[in-house]
């Protein structure tokens, strides 16, 4: 099989500092094949794509194109050896018009226009500046530009994500026809419906490794989900959750702390509604780019909603500035500490900032000291590095971002992946802190990319897919397989409710395991 494959990558490794993004990834694509590349967030898909297209150099590994060893060091070289990629973000230069963009890459205009029409855009002004075109059109133009140079292997990264249904259908058609001529397509998608409709085989990545290659046939979704999860299911079980859940004592019929109705923002968040109760930790689960950034942006007052409304304690609220949200008791804890803290300033100043930010007058030092010391003690922040916040460990920094809000007596925390890149002990401390806050009547909205955290800290979980809420699960049934399935837009499976955490499926029928 290897000898006749168009593209054969094996043993690809790549580390960024101490973090291994790819450990042993492989991918083999035969002629005339549509090959799906799937994996959970952080599994290494995007790193593999960057390596294949020459944007990043691998530490080790071999890439054969048509059986010949190729070292690609730039997208231009990858293109010359027959591999062209359409990235998630449009690659047209925003300030150049379409014609200049074609000239820049040396794309012939006639075949380009032919593909543009085939992809369902009838009228295109070549002298329109790319910046002024809608996103969906840009993506189509990207694809047409790639197709016009007739690549052997076409790599589509979430191609249909920003497209309306009619255009997406056209794209799938074109991809199918592309393969009839013996060319191949690598298709990266979060949408199982498209994968099963379009792809011949699927390579599954997990934690930077290729864990399986499966033939796409009926029911393959379950296999893929199991492969993506692997043994992590058991880890989630073992950790256990402090089950003094507020779920039991949630008052019926009481006004929720936060009610969100039909919220839409940007291009990704379409229509989201849910309630956050008093004393609840509500998990938000979504694959990358499903609108969660926009959701948290709107709730924290840093971007405007297009549609829908937000009610805080029963009264409608409109946030024009983060200060409005903070006044309403909603505060944002980002995953990236750098976004929240003044890194060169002291712990004290960072904690004190939110409650002196509103006024410009003199600072009541005595009052400030009491509040700051209270917060530091409460969170057991290691204050040996009293000086600059940037000298603290990541976990301690994250504690400071939470502490500064506790000091103001805030009621609702909006945590966006707060435990990303934090050691396990501090993670635990943050979990119990969030539970403790909830027990005292605060509410927490917790977006997390680690599915196990739902059962560890949350009362319920809202799953968002394609900018809409697809499922709301109580924590006791929100195990990783169920969440993963929901996050990929698959219907909830009945059996998994009964037996949470079904056994990992290595060597299940129809699965061809990756290279040993």
């Amino acid at each position: 099989m290897t000898s006749e494959s168009l593209l054969d990558a094996s043993g690809v490794c790549k580390s960024y500092g101490p973090v291994a993004a790819l450990r042993d990834a492989s991918l083999t694509v035969g002629p005339g094949e549509v090959h799906a590349l799937v994996g959970a967030n952080g599994a290494g898909k995007s790193t593999l794509v960057k390596i294949l297209t020459g944007a990043v150099r691998p530490d080790s590994g071999r890439i054969l194109i048509r059986g010949r060893d190729r070292k690609v060091h730039s997208p231009a070289e990858a293109r010359r050896s027959g591999l062209v990629s359409v990235y998630q973000e449009p690659a047209l230069i925003p300030d150049l018009d379409v014609a200049d963009n074609l000239r820049l890459t040396g794309t012939p205009v006639d075949p380009f226009m032919k593909w543009v029409r085939a992809l369902g855009i009838d009228k295109l002004d070549l002298f329109e500046t790319a910046r002024d075109l809608p996103l969906a059109v840009l993506r189509i133009l990207d694809l047409a530009r790639a197709l016009a140079i007739e690549p052997d292997v076409l790599l589509l990264d979430e191609m249909t994500a920003a497209l309306p249904a009619n255009l997406a259908e056209k794209v799938l058609d074109v991809v199918r026809r592309q393969c009839e001529t013996g060319r191949s397509v690598i298709f990266i998608s979060h949408r199982f419906l498209e994968i099963s409709a379009l792809c011949d085989r699927a390579t599954v990545l997990r934690d930077g490794e290729t864990v399986g290659v499966v033939d796409v046939e009926a029911g393959v979704e379950e296999q893929i989900v199991e492969l993506m999860l692997g043994t992590r299911t058991e880890l989630g079980r073992a950790a256990g959750k402090p089950q003094q859940s507020a779920g039991d004592r949630r008052p019926e019929g009481e006004t929720p702390r936060l009610r969100i109705s039909n919220l839409g923002a940007g291009t990704k968040l379409e229509d989201v509604s849910f309630d956050l109760q008093v004393g609840e930790v509500l998990g938000v689960i979504a694959l990358e780019g499903q609108g969660q950034d926009e959701l948290f942006g709107v709730l924290s007052g840093s971007r405007r909603a297009l549609t829908g409304k937000i009610e805080v304690d029963g009264t409608e609220a409109r946030f024009r500035h983060p200060a409005d949200a903070i006044r309403a008791g909603l505060v944002y804890v980002p995953s990236n500490r750098v976004d929240a803290l003044l890194m060169q300033r002291s712990v004290r100043e960072n904690i004190a900032l939110p409650f002196c930010a509103g006024a410009w007058g003199p600072i009541d030092m005595a009052k400030e000291n009491v509040r700051v010391d209270g917060a530091i003690e409460r969170l057991q922040i290691d204050t040996r590095a009293q000086g600059e916040v940037q000298r603290l460990s990541g976990g301690n920094q994250q504690k400071v971002t939470i502490a500064r809000w506790i000091a103001t007596g805030v009621q609702t925390l909006l945590c966006f992946d707060p435990t990303r890149g934090i050691d396990i002990r501090t993670k635990r401390e943050i979990y119990s802190l969030l539970r403790e806050l909830a027990a005292q009547g605060s509410s927490v909205l917790l977006y997390t990319s680690e599915l196990e955290e739902v059962q560890l800290v949350c009362d319920r979980a809202v799953v968002i897919f394609g900018g809409r809420v697809v499922d709301v699960l109580p924590a006791d049934i929100a195990n990783e397989p169920t969440l993963m399935r929901a996050a990929y837009g698959l219907p909830r499976e009945v059996s998994s409710d009964a037996i949470p955490g079904s056994a990992p499926a290595h060597g299940a029928s129809g699965i061809e395991l990756g290279p040993a």
Partner: protein, 324 residues
């Protein structure tokens, strides 16, 4: 046609402003005529070259603070080499100095690309370096310039096929400017390289993914800026007959003209025509205010105000055009 108007809208607006200013000048000083335009063109010449140099770097997404210092280096080099040398040798000097400019620009560009230090920091450092180099070459203003070189930018030239009444209004300095800029800019604008410069300034990642050699393009942009700066330095020597090691006020003036000329400081947008017209506008405003015998300190206040107002108005017009 509408395409051309839309693309050059800013330059057309600036040109209208320039014509308006010329009319005002004529009203203030009824004697203002061909000789006035001649001296305006001569005064604008070094500013125009400094601005052209700044334009290309800014379009590529950078900024070059060392332009005025590079002008000083090339100016003193030319003056020192021509001191006591024959008239013919000046041709060699001109070529050498132009190459020197390209080399200095390339050094700037390579440092920016290699060190990955922000452009503004690298070129600020190079500002001091080139300034020192200029002083090493010539400790005080001095040197000389070939007579034919000095003649190039003085007076008017006959253009075959045009009657003398018209050519009397076209100063040689303006022709020199148009020819020098055109020779470099027009082929560049029509090449893949020119597109790449715009692409890198507009979105470096997208450019990389489109197969543009981002680093090489940046170095070339700085090298072309060095070439324009060398032309500016030569013009300085031509007009004064000597070389001056302390750079004139060309750096900030070039940034001002770039902004007024409709080039986005973030890169990727704008052309050369707008900023060059802007240079003439800024020079002419200064002439008018001098003619009106306005306090020179108020002159700078007015210049700054004009810049802000024009940029705001232009932004509003562009917004309306987009929503319409």
């Amino acid at each position: 046609m509408t395409q051309t108007v839309r693309r050059h809208g800013w330059a057309i607006g600036l040109f209208a402003l320039l014509v308006l200013l010329l009319i005002i000048t004529k009203l203030i000083q009824p004697g203002y005529g061909a000789s006035g335009i001649g001296s305006l063109a001569r005064a604008a010449l070094p500013f125009a070259f400094a601005t052209a140099a700044q334009v290309i770097v800014v379009i590529a997404g950078g900024i070059d603070l060392s332009i005025a210092s590079m002008m000083a280096v090339t100016s003193v080099t030319a003056a020192a080499m021509m001191d006591g040398a024959s008239e013919e040798f000046a041709v060699v000097v001109v070529l050498f100095v132009l190459l020197l400019g390209i080399a200095m620009g390339m050094i700037n560009g390579i440092l920016v690309v290699l060190t990955r230090v922000p452009d503004i920091v690298v070129t600020l450092a190079m500002l001091f370096v080139w300034e020192g180099v200029a002083l090493l070459i010539l400790r005080a203003p001095g040197g000389a310039a070939a007579e034919w070189l000095k003649g190039i930018i003085v007076g008017t030239a006959g253009i075959p096929g045009l009657p003398a009444e018209i050519t009397a209004w076209i100063p040689k300095a303006l022709l020199v400017l148009v020819v020098c800029l055109g020779i470099v800019w027009l082929p560049l604008r029509r090449s893949r390289l020119g597109l790449s410069i715009y692409a890198v300034g507009s979105d470096a990642l997208a450019a990389f993914r489109s197969g543009v050699a981002v680093n090489r393009t940046k170095v070339v942009a700085y090298a072309v800026a060095g070439l324009f700066a060398a032309m500016g330095g030569l013009v300085l020597t031509m007009s004064t007959g000597i070389g001056a090691p302390i750079p004139g006020p060309y750096l900030l003036a070039s940034v001002a003209a770039v902004v007024l000329g409709g080039v986005a400081l973030g890169g990727g947008r704008g052309g050369l025509l707008g900023p060059i017209i802007a240079v003439f506008i800024l020079r002419l405003v200064r002439t008018d205010l001098t003619l009106l015998s306005v306090d020179p300190n108020i002159t700078t206040v007015i210049e700054g105000t004009i810049m802000v107002v024009v940029v705001i108005l232009g932004g509003l017009v562009a917004l309306r055009g987009r929503s319409a």
